[in-house]
Symmetry: C2
Subunit: 196 residues, 2 copies
């Protein structure tokens, strides 16, 4: 895992703060002045980095969907000949890492999609669909008794389970990141097993 060590660019600062604010109060509930203030500049200064408020949301959502899909593709590709069980575990682990490390993005991901311009929304939907279908394939390999529609429903439901992290205590009440990840992982596997 290659970790960034160099300082974040201004663009990245803005995106991070915008994600947090959008997740907290909704896209329409946050003004450009607030986003600017969060990174130490004032409202219209943002327009040196983005063409508009919509563009920030679009970049965030496309980025999330793309990142998830890329990671998942990599995990599946890399595991050639490996038993399906382990591939599924790898997918689950990747999704959990994401849900735990980027809570605001997970929140935005299924909440503000309809605020996008048509072209962006279609792109995000397509990326999401690919991600789901990738999971469906692996799940059906591990649990062959599942029909395709059932598997798809099960995958969506497990996403709901894994994406519940924002509701798990405001960072502090939960018993450590590792334990939480492990719990979510076990529950996800249990849910799939019971779906069959």
């Amino acid at each position: 895992m290659a970790t960034r060590t160099d300082a974040p660019t201004r663009r990245e600062q803005i995106l991070k703060e915008a994600a947090r604010l959008f997740a907290e109060r909704g896209f329409h509930g946050v003004g450009v002045d607030e986003i600017g203030a969060a990174v130490g500049i004032s409202g219209p200064g943002l327009y040196r980095h983005f063409t508009g408020k919509d563009a920030m949301l679009a970049e965030l959502l496309v980025g999330i969907s793309g990142q998830l899909l890329t990671g998942a593709k990599w995990r599946v590709q890399e595991a050639d000949g490996v038993p399906g069980e382990q591939v599924l575990d790898s997918l689950i682990e990747g999704h959990i890492d994401f849900a735990l490390d980027d809570r605001p993005l997970i929140t935005l991901h299924d909440r503000e999609l309809d605020r996008l311009r048509d072209t962006d929304r279609k792109l995000v939907r397509q990326l999401q669909r690919q991600y789901v279908e990738l999971w469906v394939g692996v799940v059906r390999e591990v649990y062959p008794a599942l029909s395709e529609p059932t598997a798809r429903s099960a995958v969506h439901s497990v996403f709901g389970l894994l994406n519940s992290t924002p509701h798990l205590g405001r960072a502090g009440s939960l018993p450590g990141r590792g334990a939480t990840a492990e719990l979510l992982h076990r529950m996800a596997r249990g849910a799939f097993a019971a779906a069959e």
Copy 2:
């Protein structure tokens, strides 16, 4: 189950349409004129029934939380001496019914809470907390090996799973209400079992 047969009042019409619109485009994304139009009257006419836009959201959220809690209390109370397994099944069934029948409300329930006035928000939070603790008690009875914090995390996660219904195909692709309910039920039980 007592089913209403009389015509809905205007207030109820408004609440229903407002819930749908808020769920679709977010609280700030919907104008009062739109809500009015959805029930055949025009914008300011709404103020004959509600003191403001906020009041509609407040009534919706308090209503949901109260309804969920009341139903759950009833289910637990009524089952005295019944094995915990069946009580848990009853809670799950109730939550699924709600998630399947009132999708917009389920969506609002954890999305627009922060748009409420302080006093209303505290009330809703308290109702939600009671609901969660009620589940935690029953879950720990069935799975005694679960610590309280773990059980609470597990309950939140299962809520995430059950509340995923809005993401399951736009009503039509899923294989019938009964089958979906059954699948969700099995997955929820499987998730709890695996949490232990």
